[in-house]
Symmetry: C2
Subunit: 255 residues, 2 copies
């Protein structure tokens, strides 16, 4: 039995997230359906992280078991020929039978693109979180640095999260100004911020709840050092709202 690893890029706009469900199209569902056409097998594609509806991925990692003799490169070409264009396979390789994309992951990197402007280009609307108010950049930088380290993140955990322990380690959290060059207009445009979070693993909605809280700091609704109190309080009701899915990208899985 072979164990094939997939590195997948997707635009999450049209999908109900990673995990297969009856209600509509999902990334996992699209992949499993195409793999069935290529290998004739009903496989289960396991991802390193299940992304929510509307969340994008630059390098989601997943794997599936197969008896097929097709070379990994052929599997990639066949999948890219059959998949819709908003899901692309960037790489495939044969792994040891023991490889598991989630259990073996040492860390994950997510980022939010925040468009700090009153009007967002229609070509970017599915990829950014729009905040029209002025944001306190320095306050946001101070707040994110306080999140780094090993903490009980109960205050940033969604109800229904199935993780046994609420303790996670954020190895790096940063906010930076980025230049966005819109290839449609070829002009440098607007005031975009990138909120990047790297950690060993994340609780359900933890990244979205952290982003929602950091933006509250940016809006001046919360002092930056209140982040430490929020962590101590272990109470979801005190932290900021859950940020919208569409500005969120799974950047990378570290192994």
């Amino acid at each position: 039995m072979r164990n094939i690893k997939l590195v997948i890029q997707y635009d999450g706009t049209r999908y109900l997230g990673w995990q297969i469900q009856r209600e509509g199209p999902t990334v996992q569902g699209m992949l499993q359906e195409r793999i069935a056409k290529i290998t004739g097998e009903q496989v289960s594609v396991i991802a390193a992280g299940r992304t929510d509806a509307g969340v994008h991925a630059l390098a989601q990692t997943a794997s599936f078991k197969t008896e097929s003799a097709l070379p990994a490169g052929t599997v990639m070409a066949a999948l890219n020929a059959l998949l819709p264009e908003d899901i692309r396979i960037m790489g495939t390789c044969d792994m040891d039978a023991a490889f598991h994309p989630r259990y073996d992951a040492r860390g994950k990197v997510y980022f939010y693109i925040i468009a700090n402007m009153p009007v967002v280009s229609p070509f970017l609307c599915n990829y950014v979180w729009k905040i029209p108010q002025n944001l306190d950049f320095d306050g946001m930088c101070a707040a994110v640095s306080l999140l780094q380290g090993t903490h009980d993140f109960t205050s940033f955990r969604a109800s229904g999260c199935g993780a046994k322990s609420p303790t996670r380690t954020i190895t790096r959290c940063s906010v930076e100004r980025i230049a966005v060059i819109d290839f449609m207009t070829e002009g440098l445009s607007g005031n975009f911020l990138k909120l990047r979070i790297e950690g060993d693993a994340f609780l359900r909605h933890m990244v979205r709840n952290i982003a929602g809280t950091i933006v509250e700091v940016g809006k001046g609704k919360m002092p930056s050092d209140m982040v430490l109190e929020l962590i101590k309080a272990r109470d979801r009701r005190l932290a900021g709202p859950t940020a919208p899915a569409k500005g969120l990208f799974l950047e990378r899985i570290n192994y």
Copy 2:
């Protein structure tokens, strides 16, 4: 009676084009519905050019008549608040009653983004025409320069085109390599070409048929100077196929 001009940017992916129809959402339909909410009037929004389903616009120009006393800036803010995010009003202004967006247009500029690569980022797939084969850039440049001038463009005119005369003037046609900076990865990526066409007016599908023909030249299926023979032949069957809508942008209307 006021005559309000709108400058509109839209991502055409979700729409059945500009012109209102029963079968599904259109840009004109979205605008007329929102204007009715704002002014209480059933207006007709007239555009400079009707774009096909999937075609995008950076600065479509349109106008409508209204008895409303709302300042033009308020109309813009109200429309942007009510419209879906993939349609944005970039400007509104009061015009003379005689202004007509189509009849008064002196020229239009369209461009195609051609992604000359085997795999296109899922974030760009709705905005480019993917051509995996190597393209002869110099041959394409030679071909587009031959299109400039006043010609009978019957060979590039779709059946069903209602224009009385098939003669149009292309004031400028160019192909250039452009750098696309993907804000998701912040990396400079791939080999993108921009095919830009500026003219006084265009026949139905003329831009798409010209783009389809220029790409045939790029693929080496047609010598670049055959463009002149195509113009002379006045036969739609001889020119290249109609290029897909999704890589096409209406850049600007000149008045």
